[in-house]
């Protein structure tokens, strides 16, 4: 297990290196000068040169890249151009909001997908199955930027139950979490249904019921557990999509997370902040995928740590 973990952690390095390099190049290729955006039009040329030197933007791009890479292992992601605060501090202020939203939306997805998927598999070919399939297709087809305002219209404006926007672990969290979790719930519902149907065809289910175990117990205690392995893998892979989706959801609901920060950083050409945000998002995605693999091995002892 330790060796496996070590190997996996080693493999994170090239992935993160690749992501950081591509983002560094892309953000520097974008037209737009951070110095001009920061200083505005009233600044004098000498002042711009001064700031360019101060921000070390006057150095060759390779040298800037090397400085950034050298800082990463020490946790030094530089200083934000726009707020002049350390990038790590900026991200640390926003990351709890994004993690809260991502975790809640995944919880919403699982809470919806498990019972619906099981129901669809158990009642294959019946109205409940078709209804769940239709709901899943509909949910997958609606983009977040449309679903969010629709939910606001229904639950906030028409029914007056929930706030339109804001930040908090209670009522303000409900609509953003549903918006972000709906697509994932739809995907997981279809996966639970498909993998459970696969398991239900296997002989151990017949054997379990033949020994007198109730059908419901055989499904919930045995078949569902085995069916969950690919579902958990899909959940891990979806985490990246949830983080990406949070960029739009956070903007709609004025949620002060890392997604909104990233958008503002790109608008201001705040290179260190963009790089920092992407690095943190990449690391989170890789970490969640690692945790997913470990969880899969726990769920199915046939999976070995290799």
């Amino acid at each position: 297990m330790r060796r496996y973990l070590f190997g996996r952690l080693l493999r994170i390095i090239p992935v993160v290196f690749g992501v950081v390099t591509v983002v560094f190049l892309l953000i520097h290729l974008l037209p737009g000068d951070p110095v001009e955006i920061m200083l505005g039009e009233s600044a004098v040329p000498a002042q711009k040169e001064e700031l360019r030197r101060e921000l070390r933007l006057d150095r060759p791009i390779l040298s800037q890249y090397a400085s950034f890479l050298a800082g990463v292992p020490r946790g030094d992601l530089g200083v934000s151009f726009r707020s002049r605060e350390p990038v790590l501090g900026e991200i640390a202020r926003r990351i709890p909001a994004t993690l809260l939203l991502a975790a809640t939306s995944i919880a919403v997805a699982v809470f919806v997908a498990l019972p619906l998927g099981v129901l669809a598999a158990m009642r294959r070919g019946k109205p409940a199955d078709y209804l769940s399939g239709f709901a899943a297709m509909l949910s997958l087809s609606i983009p977040n930027f449309l679903l969010g305002p629709l939910l606001v219209l229904l639950f906030s404006v028409q029914l007056g139950l929930l706030p339109v926007s804001g930040y908090g672990a209670g009522r303000p969290l409900v609509l953003p979490a549903i918006t972000l979790g709906t697509g994932m719930a739809a995907l997981l519902t279809r996966m639970v249904r498909a993998t459970l149907l696969e398991e239900l065809r296997k002989e151990y289910v017949t054997a379990a019921t033949a020994r007198g175990l109730s059908y419901r117990s055989a499904v919930v205690l045995h078949a569902l557990r085995n069916a969950l392995v690919p579902v958990v893998t899909a959940m891990g892979l979806s985490f990246g999509a949830v983080l990406a989706g949070s960029v739009i959801t956070e903007t709609i609901f004025s949620w002060p997370g890392i997604g909104r920060l990233l958008i503002q950083a790109i608008d201001a050409r705040d290179y260190p902040l963009v790089q920092g945000c992407v690095l943190v998002i990449a690391l989170s995605t890789v970490a969640v995928n690692l945790a997913t693999d470990i969880l899969c091995a726990r769920l199915d002892p046939r999976i070995r740590y290799e």
């Binding site: 926003r94 019972p115 929930l162």
Partner: protein, 523 residues
């Protein structure tokens, strides 16, 4: 296969019921005496010495007081300075009000004023406003209530640069922790990207504001801003609701829409280095071919005023008798013929000339671009629209890589803008003469006007200047969007000014609703 019967346990309805009950029991902020203002974005910084973004400036107008304020026409008003005099064009003497104090109780004296501007002028602090005060040679404080600014050369717009919040001496630049001010509201709490919680400052020299508590929410999505207004969780949005949604806002009964003249002028910029656009006849033909009235009526729902100068009509230096460019496609065609761009195939599809029109990704601007494209097609000009992400778009404009672009001049407070925008030596990146316009008389007038202390003489120079620009059309001023305020009908007392100032928020009050009594009642 056996079926699984699913029965929902009764407890599952408990959270739904709780949320419903909670929702119904919630009072609106205005019922509890709190006003909620929504801004379309979060401020990057709330420090008057470094803030450049509009949202930071708008919060500062509520929390920080300046030496002088500004009225709707751009004229200076007393603020912290009770009065001022200028014995010669190089000296300005400000006399502070007695008994001024900051939010934390410290007295506000001339030392704080000197500190604020010295801090901005110190190169080590990298303030983006440093260039604005480059004419300041020395700041003297003969006594606690007198500040003397000495300039290195005459600079007539100097007073307009004194609209800058004063901070206590010794205030470090602390990122998100804003320095205290002496404005009508103080900041109790600020969450980046979330909201700023304000409360009335009892020691404000003009008396504490009637509304004791205010929240400024940062809501980037325009539809969400409208829905918040509709629900009552936001009560005040200035220029943040799409014109399309205004009728719906009026229908709610809860909301009132007010409009007033605006100071932000949208214009078409031409690249005078371009072979076709260097000819004033081509630029005039383009202007004649654009039916601005139809665009204002259909896209802006009538909520914009046609203009003939980039200086807003409310400004003291605006020339009211400037000739307006009419919609006259027949004359546009004649001018294009004269300029050497005849129609190659009569009514056929071939254009007289092809041009590229750059704009941002703003939805309204894109719609405007599409209509202009169609109107110019009618006179034989083929337009390719390039709608670019803001950073890319603005970078292209500053580099001069464009033929036609559309932008809006925001927050023009002094006619010295003409020097910045049209003087031949004001090219990018340090000036805004992006099209490369050059006229000796314009250069002379802009230089003389910024040195001229007499308001009347300056006005005459700017009127002459505006007539030259109306003749040459280096840019084509289109319209000034009207300021649109959507507010809860119980919030009253906010005078709309062309410069979108939030300074008058302090004059607002919450009045009882005569039609639908609120649950809590105003405080």
């Amino acid at each position: 296969m056996r079926s699984l019967r699913v029965r929902l346990p009764p407890w599952i309805f408990l959270p739904i019921g709780l949320i419903a009950g909670w929702g119904c029991a919630q009072k609106l902020p205005i019922d509890e005496g709190r006003m909620v203002i929504a801004l379309p974005g979060a401020p990057v910084n709330i420090d008057p010495r470094v803030a450049t973004d509009a949202y930071g400036e708008q919060i500062l107008q509520m929390t920080h007081a300046s030496l002088v304020g500004r009225d709707g026409a751009g004229d200076p008003l007393p603020d912290l300075a009770q009065r001022w005099e200028s014995p010669d064009p190089l000296t300005y003497i400000f006399h502070l009000r007695p008994g001024l104090r900051f939010h934390d109780g410290r007295p506000l004296t001339s030392v704080d004023v000197r500190y604020t501007f010295t801090w901005i002028l110190d190169a080590a602090n990298r303030s983006p406003h440093r260039g604005l005060y480059r004419h300041v040679a020395a700041i003297e404080t003969p006594d606690p209530r007198t500040v003397v600014f000495r300039l290195s050369e005459p600079f007539a717009p100097f007073l307009s640069t004194m609209v800058r919040g004063i901070v206590p001496a010794g205030s470090p630049a602390r990122g998100y922790a804003p320095p205290v001010g002496a404005g009508p509201y103080k900041i109790d709490d600020l969450s980046p990207d979330g909201e700023a919680v304000l409360s009335a400052y009892d020691g404000y020299y003009g008396g504490p504001p009637a509304i004791r508590a205010a929240t400024v929410k940062f809501v980037p999505d325009s539809n969400v801003r409208f829905l918040e207004l509709k629900m009552g969780s936001v009560n005040f949005v200035l220029n943040g609701v799409d014109p399309d949604l205004l009728p719906a806002a009026e229908r709610t009964g809860r909301l009132v829409v007010e409009e007033g003249p605006g100071g932000n002028v949208t214009y078409l910029g031409f690249n005078l280095r371009d072979r076709a656009l260097s000819d004033a006849r081509v630029r005039r033909a383009i202007a004649l071919a654009i039916d601005r009235e139809t665009i204002v009526r259909t896209i802006w729902k009538g909520r914009a005023d046609l203009v003939s100068s980039i200086l807003p009509p409310g400004s003291w230096a605006h020339d009211p008798d400037l000739p307006a460019v009419p919609f006259d496609p027949a004359r546009a065609r004649r001018l294009l013929d004269e300029a050497g761009f005849p129609d190659p195939d009569g009514d056929g599809p071939l254009p007289r000339l092809r041009l590229t029109y750059k704009t941002s990704q703003n939805e309204v601007r894109r719609r405007v671009a599409t209509v202009i494209q169609e109107q110019l097609r009618q006179v034989g000009i083929s337009i390719e629209i390039q709608s670019l992400e803001w950073g890319t778009f603005f970078s292209d404009i500053k580099k001069g890589t464009f033929q036609i672009y559309s932008l809006t001049w925001v927050g023009i407070s002094d006619p010295d803008i003409f020097h910045h925008a049209f003087h031949s030596r004001s090219g990018p990146p340090d000036g805004a003469n992006r099209g490369g316009y050059s006229d000796a008389e314009v250069d002379r007038l802009t230089e003389a006007a910024r040195r001229e202390p007499s308001r009347e003489k300056r006005r005459e120079m700017y009127w002459r200047l505006q007539r030259i620009l109306a003749r040459d059309l280096p840019v084509f001023p289109l319209w000034a969007g009207r300021n649109l305020l959507v507010r809860d009908r119980r919030l009253t007392g906010f005078p709309l000014t062309p410069d979108e100032s939030y300074a008058s928020v302090r004059a607002m009050r919450i009045v009882p609703d005569p039609v639908t009594p609120s649950t809590g009642g105003p405080r």
